[in-house]
């Protein structure tokens, strides 16, 4: 855990302590369990987003994909009678396909990620709405899928399974990003695509892979969201979720220019965002202020972080002036 992550963790604990003092019910196991459930749901898509952001890209279609996968998945299992493992596999395939298309448009046809995924945002939202003719997709009364429900929305000793899923995915992705060859390549591509290419890295593939990971994780989180809400109104489900994911990544120390950020950071960012939403509800702050609180905290967090880094850098500059630079001494 680097210093940035530690600072974020400290902030989370501090906010938590303040809220707990104001309203001790904040610490009730059920509240922590409920909030962590949402951390699990949003965290899955935020990690996907993080991979794209590291390449210097952005994925704006997350919310729409969550809506599209949601209606399709619920419709498949509740109406069409497709066995859920099959439906889940199909959703995963859809997520991978969407990621692949985005990745290829960005790398092969050199389109800007913002543009590609903005179009995706519009197209998938429209597709989801068209598919159900704007009707809500949901389960009928008494329609149950015990295994699926236990897996996605169940809890074990109060721990929501979405959190278990997030823990597994985060661990896996931590290894991939921070320890594997692919992760090293991702950072290299994000920092300087051209230099990475000149080092023999197939940068196109690396970028496509990042979008594919994002697509797959988004599809998984979409299934979890669908089983949590059990009802998908295609016009509004998932609206702005991409912004939550991006905000979590930014809070977690990612730069939108690429090449920076850690898995721990984005998970902590998600936790902080959900903690804020929780505190608005628990402290009786008017919910109309919810957005403002979130925006204010992100702004303050990024501001403090940026100023702190600049301060440290300046201090390092002053301190270093006394020691000398090793120079190329001739032999």
């Amino acid at each position: 855990m680097n210093k940035k992550d530690a600072g974020l963790l400290a902030l989370i604990l501090f906010v938590g302590a303040v809220v707990a003092i104001l309203n001790p019910r904040f610490l009730l196991p059920i509240n922590i369990s409920n909030t962590s459930n949402l951390v699990g749901l949003f965290g899955l898509s935020a990690i996907g987003q993080a991979f794209v952001i590291i390449t210097g890209g952005i994925e704006l279609s997350v919310g729409s994909v969550i809506a599209l996968v949601g209606v399709l998945f619920v419709d498949f299992i509740a109406v069409e009678g497709v066995p859920w493992p099959l439906a889940f596999a199909a959703m995963l395939a859809l997520g991978v396909a969407i990621g692949t298309v985005h990745g290829l448009l960005v790398t092969r046809l050199r389109m800007q990620p913002f543009v590609v995924t903005l179009c995706g945002l519009l197209i998938y939202r429209g597709a989801a709405r068209f598919y159900t003719q704007d009707a809500t997709a949901g389960f009928g009364f008494g329609q149950n899928f015990p295994t699926l429900e236990w897996l996605t929305a169940g809890r074990t000793y109060g721990v929501p399974h979405s959190v278990v899923a997030l823990a597994i995915v985060a661990t896996g992705m931590w290894v991939v990003l921070h320890r594997s060859v692919f992760g090293r390549h991702l950072y290299a591509v994000g920092k300087n695509e051209e230099a990475a290419r000149y080092s023999g890295i197939r940068t196109g593939r690396v970028v496509v892979a990042a979008y594919v990971i994002c697509g797959a994780l988004t599809a998984i989180s979409a299934v979890f969201f669908a089983m949590y809400t059990r009802s998908i109104s295609p016009a509004s489900h998932g609206n702005f979720y991409e912004l939550y994911a991006i905000a979590a990544a930014v809070l977690g120390g990612f730069s939108l220019k690429g090449g920076e950020g850690s898995v721990i950071g984005v998970v902590l960012g998600t936790i902080l965002l959900q903690e804020l939403q929780n505190l608005v509800n628990l402290l009786g702050i008017p919910s109309s202020l919810n957005f403002s609180v979130m925006g204010g905290v992100i702004l303050a967090g990024v501001l403090v972080d940026g100023q702190w880094s600049r301060f440290r850098e300046r201090r390092r500059a002053v301190g270093a002036a006394s020691t000398d630079q090793p120079i190329t001494a001739p032999k």
Binding site: R25, N31, G138, N278
Partner: protein, 295 residues
Amino acid sequence: SAADKPTLAFVVNGASDFWKAAEAGMRKAQAELPGYALELKYPEQSSVAIQQRLMDDLVTAGVKGIMVSAVDPKTSTDGLNKIAAQTALFTTDSDAPQTNRIAYIGSSNVDAGKQAAEIAKKAMPNGGKCIGFVGLLGADNAKERIQGMKDGLAGSKISLVDVRGDDIDQTRAKKNVEDALVASPDVTCMVGFYSYNTPRIYEALRDAGKLGKITVVGFDDDPITLGGVKEGTIAGTVVQQPFEWAYRGFKLMAAYVGGDKSGIPANHLIIVPTKIIAKGDVDAYAAALKAMAGK
């Protein structure tokens, strides 16, 4: 202090003026229930997930009773049951009969749709062609109102040929009316299914100089709608009574939480009927609204 009193919450389905009357009802109930803290909660977005988490948080905060206008009651059975297991749960606005809710207090959107059909039939005895406007085509309340209206129009010479959605974007709501005037010159009647649709119809018709030439049927009691009805350019509007829902709802909850279950009918339904407001009813209705708001 407020924190020591038992809390009752009224959770709505999204931010809308419609619920301002419910706030007034809450204030009236509060005056009569000094022993309780009453709250009306808006989810920050009209979405099942966000409403669900709002209720989870309220339960955590220890509310004694929740009355909810569920965003999507049909498919939220489990979520609502989870809440019902932890606190006294009532529904309002749109019912969730399969859940363990204690009672429903509200009106019937299908009946409201039928009343709209009545207005149309009365205004257009020779028949006509209607086009409707709504925020979310897929939402239950929209579907029920549209269905009710179609049922009510069955057998008459009036038809509802199309309903256009606008995603609760007022700019598109108004443009949809303008486009409909262009695309279907033979339309003789327009229906605004959501509270803001009728004022947008009114304004677009006014801008186009068609006010009074096209029959307008409205829902709810936006001031512009009421003004149009009074002026005679809107044939009539169907109003619900959220004030009553909130007022009677809070009283009912307080009684129930206090151990008095006599107010719960056997069928668990307390229907507050919708009303047709025609030209002659506006003044009285507006006065009643004012009185309810306590202003």
